[in-house]
């Protein structure tokens, strides 16, 4: 992309420092973005991307000495109302929308903020909202409360909100996280249009393919420090990963044939109308089956059905040759099925509770002694798994939220291994896990497979299943549309099939 406004930055930050609870979250960071540019901000979780965005928009105030230059003027810090009025807009990762309020009010919420107590001009709010949606080429009923809309539509609302008024710089923090491929394509087109009209767009995404496709420059942060600013032209995904983590990775296909092993799971024509249909596969001891496909392909629903939390409408599941019908996930766990949720923060682990309690929660029966929970047995169980999986913890009584994403995921895996499963279903096991820690998770998965566990690995990132599974199933619209062996297909072939 060219730079219509020349090389002078529209927004520049220098000497940004901020400390939280004694930890320096950002250290001498500088950042700049030009008008009409799509600029990518890259870094692992906790590298300081979101903190930087919050400083630019005035949610946080940086330490003294900071310099923020916007449109030729200098400021020591920002305030949310001020930043918004100057055209600095954000699409937050969590959207920060108000579910009970109408779509119109969500989009034009800045109309009711600041400037003292005033009367609300609903007609104006409505027209602002309709105008913003029209610019996106979308039509929604702006009078309905936001809660009546699906997540993808809420994403649209959040984008529309950022376009209200005169947008000069738009920050997009993981805007594609909950979008399907076609919705993502749509969004990327919007981003290009914005940039073409002279708006500076700062794009944050963990999907490196998107980053390479959309941006012209790249700023990389690591551990709260600036690594550097690079042109995107000539970059590769692995080079970005290296810059983000400071380490090099070489991936190789782990697939092997397990045809001589005993069959653990046989799924035959499993169907849940509207979610998935006619799903059949077999899985052997020591085998890792990768299931990939776009969001909404029915992968998670399939996993939840195997796990006994949803009931199939038809079809059968056999475990070790015997047909099984689960009344609840407890029955599935007892039969030897474990399911690592894709949503570790709110479903996989109980963030407020301790590491030890999270680890034993699914296998309480194993630590009973005389009908009561035995602290000694609990300690033994926790010590064993913490050691086995190499989890780095302070004390077992500490809240699990004190651990890094990678260590939390190890505890979550340990929690299921403690139930001594026959089949382990891993649903997006690297979401929220730093690139550097992902390899460690997959090393564990490989060891588990070697020890005879049957594993289903679900991921929407094709490389993840390509390098770690023995076989890959491609799901689309609830059906299995392709089956691949990583040893005979190239990564590129499978990506082309899945991402279309």
């Amino acid at each position: 992309m060219d730079q219509p406004a020349g090389d002078k930055p529209l927004l520049a930050l220098r000497n940004i420092n901020i400390t939280f609870g004694g930890v320096r979250a950002l250290r001498d960071v500088s950042f700049e973005v030009r008008a009409g540019e799509v600029h990518c901000l890259a870094g692992e979780n906790g590298s300081g991307k979101s903190t930087l965005i919050k400083i630019i928009t005035g949610v946080y105030r940086p330490a003294d000495g900071a310099e923020i230059e916007f449109d030729g003027k200098r400021y020591s810090h920002m305030s949310p109302v001020f930043a918004h009025a100057r055209g600095i807009k954000v699409i937050w990762q969590d959207l920060a929308l108000f579910s009970e309020m109408s779509v119109a009010e969500n989009i034009a919420f800045s109309e009711v903020v600041g400037r003292g107590v005033r009367l609300v001009d609903y007609a104006r709010i409505r027209s602002i909202a309709l105008d913003a949606l029209a610019r996106l080429g979308v039509s929604l009923d702006v009078d309905l409360p936001l809660k009546q809309f699906a997540i993808a539509q809420r994403q649209i609302v959040a984008i529309a909100r950022a376009l209200v008024g005169e947008a000069r710089v738009v920050f997009m923090d993981e805007p594609t996280a909950s979008l399907t491929q076609s919705e993502t394509d749509n969004l990327l087109a919007i981003v290009r249009n914005l940039a073409a009209s002279g708006v500076a767009v700062v794009f944050v995404s963990h999907r490196l393919a998107e980053v390479l496709e959309i941006s012209s420059r790249l700023t990389v942060l690591r551990d709260g420090r600036l690594v550097g600013v690079y042109p995107t032209a000539g970059m590769t995904q692995s080079r970005i990963t290296e810059l983000m983590t400071g380490r090099t990775f070489d991936a190789k296909v782990r697939a092997a044939s397990r045809d001589d092993r005993r069959v653990v799971v046989e799924v035959d024509k499993l169907t849940r109308p509207g979610q998935f249909s006619d799903v059949s596969f077999t899985l052997r001891e020591g085998e890792t089956l990768g299931i990939t496909g776009l969001l909404g392909a029915g992968r998670t629903e399939l996993a939840m059905t195997l796990f006994g939390m949803l009931k199939p409408a038809s079809g059968t599941v056999r475990l070790d040759g015997r047909p099984v019908h689960f009344s609840s996930n407890r029955a599935a766990i007892d039969a030897g099925i474990a399911y690592l949720s894709e949503d570790r923060l709110s479903l996989g682990l109980i963030q407020a509770q301790s590491i030890a309690d999270n680890l034993v929660i699914a296998s309480l029966r194993k630590i009973l002694s005389g009908g009561l929970l035995s602290p000694g047995r609990k300690r033994d169980l926790v010590d064993r798994w913490v050691t086995d999986l190499g989890v780095k913890i302070g004390r077992p009584e500490d809240a699990i939220s004190t651990l890094s994403g990678g260590n939390q995921q190890r505890v979550a895996i340990a929690k299921w291994l403690a139930t001594e499963p026959r089949l382990l279903i891993l649903d997006a096991p690297t979401v929220g896990v730093d690139v550097g820690a992902r390899a460690g998770i997959f090393d564990i998965v490989a060891q588990l497979a070697d020890s005879g566990l049957a594993i289903i690995l679900i991921s929407d990132e094709v490389p993840e299943v390509y390098f770690n599974a023995d076989r890959i199933l491609h799901m689309a619209q609830g059906r299995i549309v392709g089956s691949y062996d990583p040893r005979t297909y190239s990564l590129h072939d499978i990506e082309a099939a899945v991402y279309g």
Partner: protein, 333 residues
């Protein structure tokens, strides 16, 4: 209109239930479906409706308040002492003093919540005990019967004799109630800070990123409830023609039940003035109807409690998927 029913499901349901109960009562009793009875209902519901719209604002902002009813008792004593001290006074002075004391008591709650960063239920259960304990201690539980004439004289704003000889009348409490309802409606739907209250209750972090002043939100919500509680206290003293220290003790939970029945959500971001008024009216109409049908007064509360329990059970199970249960919403379904 159809859109109103879709976006105001609770209010619609309440209207239907009230209409059904009214229909049954109008067949079952002669007295129910008369203008006189309707006005009686308004007169007796006034105090609770004023409390309810005040509490609604706190619930919308994501808080809860247990202390407002005993705060109103404190206000009654404060006003009685003040007008005794200045010797006389009138409605204007009374309302201003009541409002000021109420706002001050509400601000204590807001200040503690804001400073200590602890949930409003902990703070207001503490202040509930503090207000009530000190009130009973200093008054020694003694009631005040000798109130000035302006406070005890019934002010009838509109009266008319009906064909059957009975009188219908609208008295001052109804006017005050209508003003409080209108003011609260204007605050939460027509002003920018009102919309900020909804946003703050709905998604506090999102509101913070917009630069909404959280301390101001808390003082506004609890201050408004304090104001309403102060006014309701004075009106109740006028209605009862006496000031009894424990007269309003226990009212907080009845009002809370009615407000939530009217669609406000514990946890914030949701609730309308209309629903709130209908919630109070439903409980009042039920009691009134039972009374007219000659049911023992001892059975009123039992039936009202059962109705609320059934209403909650039905409404919660129907729209379960729309309601996030506390903090955790099942994301996969």
């Amino acid at each position: 209109m159809a859109k109103f029913f879709r976006t105001h499901a609770t209010e619609t349901a309440l209207l239907v239930v009230i209409a059904m109960i009214s229909l049954i009562l109008s067949f079952a009793t002669d007295r129910y479906f008369t203008i006189g009875n309707a006005f009686d209902l308004l007169n007796t519901s006034s105090v609770n409706i004023i409390f309810a719209v005040g509490l609604l604002v706190v619930l919308i902002a994501g808080g809860i308040d247990i202390s407002f009813a005993v705060a109103a008792s404190v206000v009654q004593y404060g006003v009685a002492l003040f007008i005794g001290w200045i010797g006389g006074g009138n409605w204007a002075i009374g309302l201003v003093v009541a409002g000021c004391i109420g706002v001050a008591l509400g601000s204590i709650n807001a200040g503690l919540i804001q400073m200590l960063g602890i949930p409003s239920i902990v703070v207001t259960i503490s202040t509930f005990n503090i207000f009530f304990g000190f009130l009973m201690f200093f008054t020694k539980g003694v009631s005040i019967y000798d109130l000035p004439d302006w406070l005890t004289t019934r002010v009838v704003l509109y009266e008319r004799q009906m064909a059957d000889g009975s009188w219908v009348e609208i008295s001052l409490p109804v006017l005050v109630m209508v003003l409080c309802v209108a003011a609260t409606w204007a605050l939460i739907t027509r002003t920018t800070v009102g919309r900020q209250l909804y946003a703050f209750g709905d998604n506090p972090e999102g509101a913070r990123r917009f630069g909404i002043n959280i301390a101001f939100m808390r003082f506004l919500a609890f201050g408004w409830l304090g104001l309403m509680a102060g006014i309701a206290g004075l009106v109740q003293a006028h209605y009862a023609q006496e000031v009894v220290p424990n007269a309003l003790y226990g009212r907080e939970l009845d009002v809370l039940a009615a407000v939530v029945l009217g669609g406000a959500r514990l946890g914030g971001g949701k609730g309308t003035v209309l629903g709130c008024v209908l919630g109070v009216m439903l409980t009042q109409i039920t009691q009134n109807g039972l009374n007219l049908m000659g049911v023992s007064p001892f059975a009123f509360k039992m039936i009202v409690g059962a109705i609320i329990l059934v209403a909650i059970t039905l409404s919660s199970s129907q729209i379960e998927r729309l309601l996030p249960f506390r903090r955790h919403q099942g994301t996969t379904r």
